[in-house]
C-alpha cells in the first residue's frame, strides 16, 4: 500500500465511521422528542422511560459523532494539505456556520440530558427538539461543503490561480440541494429502519412488549416515510449528476458507449478492458429517461472522456447497484407497512411483518455507505471536480500507511465498544427503563 492509497483509505475509513455515528446522532433526537411529546401529552410513564432510554443512545452517538467529526476537520489538513490550502477559504463558509450549529447542539444537549425536573417542561422539551434541528442543520452544511467538491463554484480558476473568491456562492453550489436532501432522507430512513428493526426483534422475543411496541412505531414511521420519499430525491440527484458530472453517471451505470435511448443496467459485471457489462439486465431507454427525462435522449458514456479521467468503474457501479437495490427493498417494506396501518390492524404486529423489519435493520446503513462510495469514488481522480486531482493534494509526509493502521484499529475498537454498549442498553431495558414511574432513575444516571 503506497502513501496515496493509505491516505485515501484513511479518509474513507474515517468518513465511513463518522457518517454512521453522525446519522444516528442527528436523527435519534427526533425520535426522542416525539416520545417526549407523547409523554407530556398523555403522562404515560412508558413514554418517559422510552425518552430516557433513547437519550442515552443520543448521548453516546453525539459523543462519537463529535469526536470523529473533530478528527475529520484535522484530517482534511493532515492528509490533504494542498487541497485545504486552496479550498479552505472557498468552501469553508459552511464549516464556519456548522461550528455555530454544532455548538448550539452541544449546549442544547447539555440542557436536555441534565435538565429533567430542573426546568419548565416545555423548555426542556424544546431543548431536545433543538438538539435534533441543529444536528440536521450541521449535517446539511457539511454535505454542502462536500457538494462543492463535486460542483466547484464561487471562484475563477485562471492559470492555476483561484481568483474572485465568493464563499457564499461556493456554499450554494449546484449540487448542495440535491445532495443535502438525499443525505438527510437517507439518514432518517437508515436510522429509522435500524432502530425499528432492533425494537422489532425485542417484540418478537416478547421482552417488554409495550415499551418496544411504542418505540417501534415511532422509529418505523420516520424510517418508512423517508424511505418512500427517497426515490424522489434519488431522481432529482440522478438528473443533477447527469448534468454536472456525466462521467460519474456513466461509471454508476457502467455505461461505456455514448448512445441514444440508453438502457438502465441492473446488476452485471463491468469488464473495463473490453468496455462492456456482462450478465446484466438492461431496460432500454430508461437511463435516458432517468437522466434527461426523455427516453430517446443521448447519454454520454465513458468513451466521451479521456481515460485518465475515468473513475474506478466497477466499484462505483457495484456501490450504486447496492444502494438502489436496498433503497427499493426498504421502499417496498415501507409501502407494506403503510398498507398494514391502513387496512388491517391485526397485521401491524404480526410476526412476519416484524421479521421483515428485523431483516431490514442494517439495510439503510449499508445503502448509506454505498451511496457515499458512489459520490466519492465516482468523483475520482478529482478532489475538486475538474480542477485539482486527488494525487496532487496528498501530504508529502511518508509513512501514512502506519497512520492508516492506527486509525483503523481505533475505529474498529470504538465501533465494537459502541455496539457492545447498545447491546447492554437494550438488554437492561427491563431493569432500567420499563419500570413503574417512581423507579425510573437508573443508578448511574447523571444527577
Amino acid at each position: 500500500m503506497n502513501d496515496f492509497i493509505a491516505a485515501r483509505s484513511q479518509m474513507a475509513l474515517s468518513l465511513g465511521f463518522h457518517i454512521i455515528f453522525s446519522c444516528i446522532g442527528m436523527v435519534m433526537p427526533f425520535f426522542m422528542a416525539v416520545s417526549h411529546l407523547y409523554y407530556l401529552r398523555t403522562g404515560k410513564p412508558v413514554y418517559k422511560n422510552l425518552t430516557k432510554a433513547w437519550s442515552k443512545g443520543v448521548a453516546i452517538f453525539f459523543a462519537t459523532g463529535a469526536v470523529s467529526g473533530t478528527v475529520l476537520s484535522f484530517e482534511l489538513g493532515l492528509l490533504w494539505p494542498e487541497f485545504m490550502k486552496h479550498a479552505g477559504p472557498i468552501f469553508g463558509m459552511p464549516f464556519s456556520l456548522e461550528g455555530t450549529a454544532f455548538f448550539i447542539e452541544a449546549i442544547a444537549l447539555g440542557f436536555f440530558l441534565y435538565g429533567w425536573n430542573r426546568f419548565n417542561k416545555w423548555f426542556h422539551w424544546a431543548t431536545g427538539v433543538l438538539v435534533g434541528v441543529s444536528g440536521l442543520v450541521s449535517g446539511i452544511l457539511v454535505v454542502a461543503a462536500n457538494a462543492w467538491m463535486n460542483s466547484p463554484a464561487g471562484f475563477d480558476y485562471v492559470n492555476g490561480q483561484y481568483l474572485n473568491i465568493d464563499p457564499i456562492a461556493a456554499m450554494f453550489n449546484d449540487a448542495w440541494f440535491s445532495q443535502a436532501l438525499h443525505m438527510s432522507l437517507a439518514a432518517f430512513a437508515a436510522t429509522g429502519f435500524a432502530v425499528a428493526g432492533i425494537h422489532a426483534l425485542m417484540i418478537l422475543r416478547k421482552r417488554n412488549v409495550e415499551f418496544h411496541s411504542k418505540a417501534f412505531r415511532i422509529a418505523a414511521i420516520f424510517g418508512t416515510v423517508a424511505a418512500i420519499l427517497q426515490p424522489l430525491s434519488g431522481d432529482i440527484s440522478a438528473k443533477d449528476v447527469a448534468k454536472r458530472q456525466p462521467i460519474k453517471l456513466a461509471a454508476m451505470e457502467a455505461h461505456f458507449q455514448t448512445e441514444k435511448k440508453a438502457a438502465f443496467v441492473i446488476g452485471g459485471i463491468p469488464d473495463e478492458k473490453n468496455k462492456k457489462v456482462n450478465h446484466a439486465v438492461k431496460i432500454p431507454g430508461v437511463l435516458s429517461f432517468l437522466a434527461h427525462g426523455d427516453f430517446n435522449a443521448e447519454v454520454k458514456g465513458l468513451d466521451a472522456f479521456p481515460e485518465d479521467q475515468h473513475p474506478p468503474v466497477a466499484i462505483t457501479h457495484y456501490a450504486f447497484q447496492v444502494m438502489i437495490g436496498l433503497g427499493m427493498l426498504m421502499m417496498g417494506l415501507a409501502l407494506l407497512y403503510f398498507f398494514a396501518l391502513w387496512k388491517k390492524k391485526n397485521w401491524l404486529f404480526s410476526r412476519w411483518l416484524l421479521r421483515l423489519f428485523v431483516i431490514a435493520t442494517p439495510m439503510g446503513f449499508i445503502a448509506v455507505e454505498a451511496g457515499w462510495t458512489v459520490t466519492e469514488v465516482g468523483r475520482q481522480p478529482w478532489i475538486i471536480y475538474g480542477i485539482m486531482r486527488t494525487s496532487e493534494a496528498v501530504t508529502p509526509m511518508p509513512g501514512i500507511v502506519y497512520s492508516f493502521y492506527i486509525f483503523t484499529a481505533m475505529y474498529l475498537s470504538l465501533s465494537l465498544i459502541v455496539i457492545y454498549m447498545l447491546y447492554r442498553q437494550i438488554r437492561m431495558v427491563g431493569t432500567l427503563y420499563d419500570v413503574p414511574e417512581k423507579d425510573t432513575e437508573p443508578q448511574n444516571a447523571p444527577a
Binding site: I60, S68, T70, P81, P89, G99, L109, M397, M410, A447
Partner: protein, 334 residues
C-alpha cells in the same frame, strides 16, 4: 474584519485552554488521586463537567475552522510538519471524549468501567501535553521547511526539549485550573474541598517548576523565550500582574471565595497566553527561516468578511445560551 477574526481566534484558543483545559485537568487530577478517594473525586468531577464538557470541546473546533478558512496556508504548513503530534492529540481527544461518555452511559456498571477510567485519565494527560508541544513547536522556530530527512522534517520539528517542556507546563496548568474550579464545586463537602485545595497548590507548584524548565529548555535550544516575555513592556506587565494575582491566590485559596479564585486563575492563564503571543503578533507560526503572519497569510478579503460575520452572528446565539447553561447548572448545586 481581519481583526475581528484574529480576536475570535485568540479568544477561542484562550477559552479552549481555560474550559477545555479545566476539563482535561479534571482527568489529570483523577490520575493523581489516591485509590481510596478516587470514587468520590470521580463523582464530583462528573457533576461539575458533565453538562458542559461537550461545549468546552467546541472551542477547539472553532479555532481550527478559523485557521483553515481564514489562514489556509498556515493551517496547511502546520498540518504537514506537525502531522505526528497532531495525530497523537487527535487520538487523545477521541479516546478521552468517548471514554468519558461511555463510563457514564454504559447501562451496566462492571469491570468495563476500569477500562473506561484508564483510557480517560491517560488520554486526559496526553492530549494537553501534545497540545502544548504543538503550540510550542509552532512558535519556536523549530519547523525546518528545507529539511531533507524524515526525522528533521517530521520528528525534530516537535520532539525537542523546549516543546516537551511547554507540553508539561500546559498539562500542569490544566490540572491547576481544574483544581481551582473544583474547589468551588465542593462547598458542602469539607474533606473533599480540602483535598482539592491541596491539589490546586501542588498543581500550581508543578506549573511553576515546569515553567522554569521551559526557560531552561529554551536556553539550551536557543529559543528566545526570555525576550518574548521580558523584552517588551506589555509582556513584563502581564507577567507582573499574573505574579501579583498568584500571591493573592495563595492567600485567598482557603477563604472560600470560589468565584474570586476562579477569576484569578483564569486571569493568570490569560496573561501567560498574552505575554507569549503579544511579541509574536501578527505571526502565528515561526519557521526556521521566516514567519507565517496572520496578516500576510490571511485568506481572500471576501472570505475573511464572511467568516467574520459568521463568527459574530454565531456568538450572538452561542454566548447567551452557553452562559445560561453554565448558570443553570451552577445555581442549584448540591
Amino acid at each position: 474584519m481581519i481583526y475581528v477574526v484574529i480576536t475570535f481566534l485568540w479568544a477561542s484558543i484562550l477559552l479552549y485552554l481555560l474550559m477545555g483545559g479545566a476539563d482535561f485537568g479534571a482527568g489529570i487530577l483523577e490520575l493523581f488521586t489516591s485509590r481510596k478517594n478516587r470514587r468520590k473525586t470521580r463523582k464530583t468531577l462528573y457533576q461539575a463537567i458533565g453538562p458542559i464538557w461537550e461545549a468546552n470541546h467546541m472551542w477547539l473546533i472553532i479555532a481550527i475552522v478559523i485557521l483553515f478558512v481564514g489562514f489556509p496556508g498556515i493551517y496547511a504548513t502546520m498540518s504537514v510538519y506537525l502531522h505526528i503530534p497532531l495525530t497523537v492529540m487527535l487520538i487523545g481527544i477521541i479516546a478521552r471524549g468517548t471514554a468519558f461518555t461511555f463510563r457514564h452511559y454504559d447501562a451496566v456498571v462492571d469491570e468495563m468501567q476500569y477500562v473506561y477510567n484508564k483510557i480517560f485519565v491517560y488520554s486526559s494527560f496526553i492530549t494537553p501535553l501534545f497540545l502544548g508541544i504543538i503550540a510550542a513547536s509552532a512558535v519556536s522556530g523549530q519547523i525546518n521547511t528545507n529539511a531533507t530527512s524524515f526525522a528533521d522534517a517530521y520528528i525534530f520539528s516537535w520532539l525537542n526539549l523546549f516543546s516537551v517542556a511547554v507540553g508539561f507546563f500546559t498539562a500542569s496548568i490544566c490540572a491547576y485550573l481544574a483544581a481551582i474550579y473544583l474547589i468551588g464545586e465542593t462547598k458542602l463537602v469539607p474533606d473533599e474541598r480540602q483535598r482539592f485545595i491541596v491539589k490546586a497548590r501542588s498543581a500550581n507548584i508543578a506549573a511553576l517548576v515546569s515553567g522554569a524548565l521551559v526557560f531552561i529548555a529554551a536556553e539550551i535550544e536557543n529559543v528566545p523565550v526570555k525576550n518574548w516575555v521580558f523584552g517588551n513592556l506589555p509582556g513584563i506587565l502581564a507577567i507582573a500582574l499574573a505574579t501579583a494575582s498568584l500571591i493573592l491566590m495563595w492567600y485567598l485559596i482557603n477563604k472560600g471565595r470560589s468565584v474570586v479564585i476562579r477569576v484569578l486563575a483564569g486571569f493568570q492563564v490569560a496573561m501567560i497566553l498574552f505575554a507569549t503571543t503579544y511579541i509574536h503578533y501578527p505571526n502565528i507560526v515561526v519557521l526556521d527561516n521566516g514567519y507565517l503572519s496572520l496578516i500576510e497569510h490571511q485568506g481572500h478579503e471576501k472570505t475573511i468578511r464572511a467568516l467574520g460575520w459568521a463568527l459574530l452572528l454565531g456568538s450572538i446565539f452561542i454566548l447567551p445560551a452557553l452562559f445560561y447553561l453554565i448558570y443553570s447548572f451552577k445555581r442549584k448545586k448540591v
